[in-house]
Symmetry: C2
Amino acid sequence: MSENRDGANGTVDSHGQSTRISNGTLRLGMIGLGLAGAGMLPAVFEDSRFKLTAVADPNPLLRERFAKDHDCRVFDSAEALMEGDCVDAVYIATPHQLHCEHVVLAATHGVHAVVEKPMALTLEDCDRMRDAVDRAGTVLIVGHTHSFDPAVLAIRDIIRSGSVGRLAIISMINYTDFLYRPRRPEELDTSKGGGILFNQIPHQVDTIRLLAGSDVTSVRAASHVLDPARPTEGCCTAFLEFSDGTAATLTYSGYDHFDSDEFHEWVGENGQPKKPSHGSTRQKLGVFSSSREEAEARTTRLGYGGRPMNPATDEKWFQPHFGTLIVTCEHADIRQTKDGIRVYRNDGSEEVIIPCASTRPGRSKVLDELYDAVVHGIAPVHNGVFGRGTLEACLAILESSRSHAEVRLGNGLGEQA
Amino acid sequence: MSENRDGANGTVDSHGQSTRISNGTLRLGMIGLGLAGAGMLPAVFEDSRFKLTAVADPNPLLRERFAKDHDCRVFDSAEALMEGDCVDAVYIATPHQLHCEHVVLAATHGVHAVVEKPMALTLEDCDRMRDAVDRAGTVLIVGHTHSFDPAVLAIRDIIRSGSVGRLAIISMINYTDFLYRPRRPEELDTSKGGGILFNQIPHQVDTIRLLAGSDVTSVRAASHVLDPARPTEGCCTAFLEFSDGTAATLTYSGYDHFDSDEFHEWVGENGQPKKPSHGSTRQKLGVFSSSREEAEARTTRLGYGGRPMNPATDEKWFQPHFGTLIVTCEHADIRQTKDGIRVYRNDGSEEVIIPCASTRPGRSKVLDELYDAVVHGIAPVHNGVFGRGTLEACLAILESSRSHAEVRLGNGLGEQA
């Protein structure tokens, strides 16, 4: 159960893989053309190390839209795609409850996988996924989350360099319109992986865990269901402590009231410039006459082809982010900014500008991690152990909210990369 | 041990007090002309309901400065002031370890008192103070803290009105230069009431408790001593839960790195417009060659006469604040702004501008509460029960930080106004 477990087993013997990888290019399959899959594609298309060779989705409209745009094999199921024997790795962007099945499927075909967060809905499923991957010797990465954002990785590098002394406190807050974006019914049911605990808090927990770099030992949290019409957790505040004494608090609300991008110079989550539009997401949702109509809109509007894939070319985009992130170390605070990070040391502050090499800088880092693991044998940070640890912390947040008491982690359960 | 205990006993029989209060004007004494006392005086001078009739301070320089400026009795000790029989109420701005002694002294002379936070350093002392006040039938108010800020009171009024539904989450963050302002040695010793737990966190805890309006039942926190040269807690993050399920997280750092007034349009704690001056407080501190020199500077520079008492007349001041305050309710988020508050409801947001009726709007509210209690018999919110509750929560934050575990409050200990 060490940091290298997934990584070591996922390291590819370049000789054994030589029939599948030519010229260092990896054949990638996208399973799921909904919001998450469509959001990943721009990063794939602009990365010459990958060739998208297959996609799969059960929805005929999304398949049709995709086939019209791209010369690529199109399947109606993950199973069919796997049987097609045309991919080295897959990006699994299917509904949460299918993550386990699809990762195991990929592993049994010897195919590397990136699976969207949350890794699964139970720790048992996480273990099944890790076992399958270990047996197959394939790579498993859990992402994308905002812990892949270049700014977050830059903060981690500074902490690791030792120049700012020990890490003490991480503070994250984010206020969004999450709960009023169009949803499928299961996305509003916590028991089926709905709500912010499985879909938004993992961004904060992943980021905090990546920066802290040790095991979560204690969780105390409160989450609330404030809108009976969207009967799943929509806001949360939590305290996390790590084995080395580092502590973090996170606050999130998705009720479309305050928008904390106001603290981020009105730059949105993906780095896009945005205008204040308080309340408009809730208003737009009001046009749907039924949950079925809403679910359809989610697929057709937010899935592949429902909206422009790339930003307008005349707009400058900034770094992706997930709200306010402030890190307190012994000799400096570090804060994420729209262009990168700002380091406030004893004798002054400096902004570190991070160039936007990609239109999707955070998602391109997922591909970096996958490529480095498969081709160069570099153990991924966001492996199955890491993904499981984030799910465990999110489940602990839910448990603490329900029991109104501290949840202690550890005893091998709180293991972390 | 009810809400009204202090208030009820502190309610003044206007007949019995008629020899002391003429024309509705209260004779006020200021005990302590250091930073806190000097900071309160502008509000006293501009409030016609009060007449400053006496001051006391053991420091000859501060007494001399004051006597030159004002026609008012000047004493060298709290005891001498009390014997002078020239006050109806005192504002006790003495070092923390003297709060208990001075409140008891006032009570035994039948004099009403406002005592600066923290109310005392132990719960036992709080009880002693409350007993003395109860016996004497005088008013006791614990302040000033930022929970007196008009914006905080406006948020409380909206919550109480019921128009925004139930309160769910309160989030407060503040990053300042606190630890590098000139200090007396005991102010850097936690066991003597030094550090942020006794001096800064009470602002956040008071504000959160005032808004939540029920008892703190659970505290989980981490605080850190990051600078061995200032060996007391300088940063902290904490989770608080209340008996009705309301939760709050607060984060504070006083290490003069990030300055969160950047999120407040560069308006400072007292409402003053400020310029970014990151690192300058630490730099200025470097000129002192000894802790004695530093302590002297604290008195001479920050005490009475050490700096201009009022803002330059051509500067517009804004509302006082203590960092970022965001409140999540069922039907709205409410956030403190530089001019008041902004309410983000389902159908749009509106800013509620609060007029600055005083140059010290937060401190003038302390005087309102004192006057209303003494003259009109209105039970004060910030009474001895409330002050004790805040100290108890701050001590629980310290205990949780040391034990790395949740601290449960209640059993009558967590009582609150």
